[in-house]
Amino acid sequence: MLFFAQIVAMFVTLLVLLGIAGFLVFAERRVLGLLQNRLGPNRLGPLGVGQALADALKLLCKEDFVPPFASGLLYRTAPILVAFSALAGFAVLPLAPGISWAGDWEIGLLLILALSSLHVYGVFLGGWSSNNKFALYGAIRAVAQLISYELPMGLALLALVLLAGSLALQGLGAAGQPVPLIVYQPLGFLIFFIAGIAETQRLPFDLAEAESELVAGYHTEYGGMRFGYFFLGEYLGLVLIAALISLLYLGAWSGPWLPGWLWMLLKTGFVIGIFFWLRASLPRPRYDQLLHWGWNALLPLAILNLLLTAIAAALWGTL
Amino acid sequence: MQNALFHWSFAIPEIWVLAMACVVLLVDVFVGERQRDVAYVLSIFTLLAAMALTWSQMGQTGFAFFGQFHLDPFTSIASFFVELLSLLVLSYSRKYLLRRSLYRGEVFVLLLFALLGALILISGANLLILYLGLELLALSQYALVAFQRGNLRATEAGLKYFILGALASALLLYGMSLLYGLTGTLDLHQIAIALVNVGSANYLLMLAVVFLVAGIAFKFGAAPFHMWLPDAYQGAPTPVTLFMSSVPKIAIFALFLRILVDGGYGSIEIWRQLFVALVVVSLVIGNVVAIAQTNLKRMLAYSTVGNMGFLALGIVAGTQNGLASAFFYAVVYAFMATAAFGLIVYLSREGFEAEEISDLRGLVRTRPWAAFLLLIIMFSLAGVPPTIGFYAKLAVFQALIEAHFIWLAVFGVLMAVVGAFYYLRVLKVALFDAPAEDLAYGADDPLAASVLTVNSLALLILGIVPGALVAFCYHALQGVL
């Protein structure tokens, strides 16, 4: 009985997450409108909230079209892979101690990293199997970008793991009580934050789909719900990274008065807000600048951070 | 799991070389093109200090890193020799590297790393460590051989060396894995204990030993596994050849000693026969094919093959004395090869490698002192008394006769006579042929000149009073059996 209840609950979690992703699409458009001094979608429902539903409905009703020149199976798999890799990460993400599906799994952090490497494959296959020049360029860019920024990201996390002595997300969150880890790891936080944006391929790091150069990059050929999966994947990835940032660096569920899970949600929302804000304010760098920056600045900084953390840990002990 | 088991202080020379290699790498990045000498001097200092550190460990024995690191007289003495040889290599080659725009920090760093590999190999007491040390040594050498990227011959040499070296590593690794499967341990001393139960009639052990010996012979350059040797020697920049012909010989002897004596002495009946075959083929191929060579580096490569045959004679004897004589031979050969290639380095200049035998025509008229040193070196290589080369051969033959391998000893002496022919031919060209007008040697390198003089004269002087060196080398092998 409990088994089935769990399955139903997992299913509900999935739906909620998908709902959040859909809502975020709308929210972002409104926020961008606000920041850019225009309106954004405001027709359907109060404040235009219905737009999210309408978009979803539209995507679902469109024809499922596979271009004749695409490599069928891979073309169909790629978007699912992207959405799956983002969704599966939430399995190990705790909202508060005890509120998660597998938050105390001893190597939850590794699972998230492994899934992010799966994400690369979704993007790569989408671009490659489309047999389209723009899509291929997009895929090449995406892969280069993802592997360039995965390294600093992993190294920043490694410093954190060194301090906290745990690979479980719940343990890492607990290490941030009562002092958020950003206090110990300001540099690591910045590195993770920047690499996180690059990993989700959001502006200003969205060179893989840069509309003005590559039409839509790796998902140029996609339409309908297959395109929707890529979209979902992107926004779910955004939520995941934001949640990770608040869990790992911003003290997770700690905070006065309100219950822990609410604090976690609030912090996540705050980080997402910053992401929106960044999108509205920063221009896109050139592609070679992006890669140089990753390898020549972020990676050495991440190694330095790890080195300093290790020295500090050797001198004063870990948390 | 106490920290006491680390005993990391035993590995101080290794740690020093590693740390300084990293320092040289970093310093080289920052000093730039003009102050390259800083990196060079730093490397020399590293080697000198490493020799001092090794010397200070002389006499200590024990295990470190949970029995993976073995400090015994052999470790100290062999380490000292490879460090000294590396120092010689560096001091010979400054001008050569400068003239060919090879005077780069990476060369020194790779050299130091190769040395580190040799040191690890010498002190290894575990199959895993031995393999890693070997790979470190080999990898650095592959890169060094191919370092002259614009040079087609160097690239070819590097590629051949790399592919055949990888094959040799694979053979060795296969042998090691069979040995591991047989004994269930990687630790050489436990392997030695386990082999007592296995007995030397076990056909899997035979298979393992065959692979191990083949791998070691490959790395030694003993025939019939010598195909890479002439091309690699000829194609590589001469200082790299200089290195390849000296340091690895001692290191690979250590590899043999660790695996097949420390670990696998129980299988001596198996590997002895294999080495007999290697000896016969190496002596014939090395000494006969060398006669046909016109290129000095190639000739010396075949001479290496032949000399590895002589070295293996000591191994065949298999006794305490035999192994000690083999080690003595390895050391002596390394210094002879250093002198021989050092002479080539010294005589070369920009656009002229001085590597053909005919390049030495009439050397005695143009460079009488160099010709005299060449005389010593060639006599020593040929084994003419009173040079040290003679004593090395003598020691090996003595040990062989003590172990009742009379026929093999007779065959060896015969081959030594054949070998003398091509060494003397070089002398004939240098001493009696008319000098060519168009030959100009680039011999304006006082450092290399003095090192060459010391190195060559040492071959002669140690030949007259060999006692100390012999005692030193024999002391290294005290108590290995």
Partner: protein, 199 residues
């Protein structure tokens, strides 16, 4: 429970073997690489079944996440003619098969005669076993020495690769953005007084 594990084991192993076979038979190198990825995934799943989660996830992280991505990156951009690569296939097949058979026989022989029995079979895994910690202790304490040597080998590989491939090519033309940005007006613009002498 045992049954589920057994069934899963056979499923994963079967997929692993089939995808490994497809790696070498696929006509398109990109597909080959992808099959290899699939094989890695199944190997990782087998590790998970064995209770070695850390190894499983590290396999995915390192091989799927880093190594194979780089492979695909290269393969995707190369124009590999597999037909030419496969030309000598039949000619070398007998030799390859013979070597493979010998290898297999030798491995069988090792397992047969010898005494893997000397290595005690692993006992039941304790409930709170933390294999990450156990691996860490082994690697950084017991096997510290080989671990460090392996690190040095990687360092040498990096140095060698860079030293052998990095070349400055003075003859190519490229923009030096820094110089362009840093340029001052005076360097580009010369003011010339064109007014003639005053009448």
């Amino acid at each position: 429970m045992m049954l589920t594990t057994t069934i899963l084991f056979y499923v994963f192993s079967a997929i692993l073997l089939v995808s490994a076979l497809l790696v070498i038979t696929a006509r398109n190198p990109v597909y080959s690489a992808l099959y290899l990825v699939l094989a890695f995934f199944n190997a990782a799943a087998l590790f998970l079944l064995l209770g070695a989660e850390f190894l499983g996830l590290i396999l995915i992280l390192v091989y799927v996440g880093a190594v194979m991505v780089l492979f695909l990156f290269v393969v995707m951009m190369l124009d590999i003619n597999l037909e030419r690569l496969k030309e000598g296939f039949l000619r070398y097949l007998p030799l390859g098969l013979a070597i493979a058979i010998v290898g297999v026989l030798e491995m069988v022989a090792v397992f047969w005669t010898a005494p893997i029995g000397r290595v005690p079979a692993p006992g039941p895994i304790p409930a709170n076993a933390d294999n990450t910690r156990a691996l860490g202790e082994l690697l950084y304490t017991h096997y510290l020495y080989p671990f460090e040597i392996a690190a040095v080998i990687l360092l040498v590989a990096i140095i060698a690769a860079i030293a052998l491939t990095l070349r400055r090519r003075p003859d190519t033309k490229s923009q030096a953005v820094g110089k362009q940005v840093a340029v001052a007006v005076r360097e580009r613009l010369r003011m010339v007084d064109l007014r003639g002498p005053k009448p």
